[in-house]
């Protein structure tokens, strides 16, 4: 008994460490990718100086942010001012733990899942962590004791509460089809070819669009980046943050992007499923490759949209959330449940 306990704890710790390392690496290189792609969209080169193709730029940025002066402000509510970035980054990193990235395999008789925690309410855990994540931004804006920060935080609160509804409801269609809240079950429900994925086979294309729009709003990305709209609010909720504390908000935003991409991949695009062929070693690696490719597609989409679309006006944001996305999401739930009810 103690032996299995030890193996379980050791495997979980190892998995967490590996996933955390990979995740932060992906986050760092998403920033690089964003600077490169947005640069090319705007007919510039993006970073080119540090390393080949500017590939070492994330490292240089990290060192710079670590060494920068952490400006101590006198007017802030210090405990909450420090808690806010920790909360934002901590919760962003937590949510990756329930996402399955591949089939399970066995090492020396012990089953190893390509997932830190296979809980059967995984999707609810994700929504819960997302809904708590608002506090990082809200507290940052409030504790900074600055009007720009406060305005940014107020916008973030209203926006995230509004779009959370559509985000949750857009996933309900898939849940009805699968009959489970477990992300692993949702992936296993889908086949290996693109037309067997939920977005086509389940008729969830509309839900996919709703999820995408709501997810952009939840992660405060353009065209929904009003909480940090730099042309009107300096930098919004993180105006008063400097050095590593600012970097933590930055990392939290990109980690959330990766999580959203992972969830969209898992729920709508068949997770790690894809055509598997060739010799055994290739077969073992291909699912992971498909998963990463789909996630990368979403990250690219994020950057592409950022380079293309202007920001919403605040009333447009609210009208879009409540008058377009929410009714669409409810209609999708109704139609999906009707089809499932007639089909069985």
């Amino acid at each position: 008994m103690p032996d299995t306990w030890f193996t379980f704890v050791a495997i979980t710790v190892a998995k967490s460490a590996i996933l955390l390392g990979v995740l932060l690496g992906i986050v760092a290189y998403t920033v690089w990718l964003e600077r490169k792609v947005v640069g090319h969209i705007q007919n510039r080169w993006g970073p080119t100086r540090v390393g080949p193709f500017g590939l070492l730029q994330p490292l240089a940025d990290g060192v710079k942010l670590l060494l920068k002066e952490d400006i101590g402000l006198s007017g802030v509510d210090r405990p909450l001012y420090i808690l806010a970035p920790i909360l934002a980054l901590g919760l962003a990193l937590t949510s990756i733990s329930v996402i399955p990235i591949g089939e399970s395999f066995t090492v020396r008789g012990v089953p190893v899942q390509m997932q830190i925690a296979d809980v059967n309410i995984a999707l609810l855990v994700l929504l819960g962590v997302t809904s708590i994540g608002v506090y990082g931004i809200a507290l940052a804006g409030w504790s900074s004791n600055s009007k720009y920060s406060l305005l940014g935080a107020l916008r973030a609160c209203a926006q995230m509460v509004s779009y959370e509804l559509s985000l949750g409801l857009s996933l309900v269609g898939v849940l009805i089809l699968t009959g489970s809240l477990s992300l692993r079950a949702i992936v296993n429900h889908q086949g290996e070819w693109p037309w067997q994925w939920n977005i086509i086979a389940g008729g969830q294309a509309v839900a996919f669009f709703i999820y995408l729009a709501a997810a952009f709003a939840e992660t405060n990305r353009i065209p929904f980046d009003l909480p940090e709209g730099e042309t009107e609010l300096v930098a919004g909720y993180h105006t008063e943050y400097s050095s590593m504390k600012f970097a933590m908000f930055f990392m939290a935003e990109y980690t959330n992007m990766v999580t959203v991409a992972c969830v969209a991949t898992t729920v709508f695009l068949g997770g790690w499923h894809g055509p598997v062929f060739g010799p055994a070693p290739l077969q073992a690696v291909l699912p992971l490759f498909w998963f990463l490719l789909k996630v990368l597609f979403f990250l690219f989409l994020y950057i592409w949209v950022r380079g293309t679309l202007p920001r919403f006006r605040y009333d447009q944001l609210m009208a879009f959330g409540w008058k377009v996305l929410l009714p669409l999401a409810i209609a999708n739930v109704l139609i999906t449940s009707f089809v499932v009810a007639v089909g069985t």
């Binding site: 309410i121 609810l124 819960g128 809904s131 708590i132 608002v134 107020l154 609160c157 995230m160």
Partner: protein
């Protein structure tokens, strides 16, 4: 064993959060303490095996409702509260009432301790089970409650509407 340790830890966090809620002077600190209480309650539900209720507790209470609390506090820019000396009625009626409540709770716990009561992790509150309960056994109360909430929303809209 692990269940017991977790239960007592989060029960203590819950009580500490509730006390902190009362003793803090700033409304935002009180609201944050309330979030801690909600979160530890969710863990207690989880320990009982009611995973769906735990998740909903976090999403709805700790996530949505408390965000609105914080939102309002930030919007009003509420400052520190002054503590009043306390009213005489509260002193005379409050302490006996608290003693009575604690006594009742303790009595009911002691009385039912021998029987097969709730066990930590003992029963399964699955999503499916709760769905069946809500849409089969308690369909009417469930729907009536939702209409009640709708009426409350409409009331708020009517009250907040500007006169033409």
């Amino acid at each position: 064993m692990l269940h017991q340790v977790l239960f007592f830890f989060f029960a203590a966090v819950c009580v500490a959060g509730a006390l902190n809620l009362l003793f803090q002077r700033h409304p935002i600190n009180s609201a944050l303490s309330l979030i801690v209480v909600m979160g530890s309650l969710a863990v207690l539900y989880l320990l009982l095996g009611a995973e769906f209720v735990a998740a909903i507790q976090v999403i709805v209470y700790a996530g949505a409702i408390m965000v609105l609390f914080i939102f309002v506090i930030m919007l009003l820019n509420a400052g520190e509260e002054e503590h009043a000396g306390g009213s005489r009625v509260a002193a005379v009626l409050g302490y006996p009432a608290v003693a009575l409540l604690v006594g009742l709770a303790a009595w009911s716990v002691v009385r039912s301790s021998g029987s097969a009561g709730l066990k930590l992790g003992g029963f399964v509150g699955s999503t499916e089970g709760i769905g069946y309960l809500l849409f089969r056994g308690f369909l009417l109360p469930f729907e009536v409650t939702s209409v009640l909430i709708l009426i409350a929303i409409m009331g708020a809209v009517v009250l907040a509407r500007k006169e033409d």
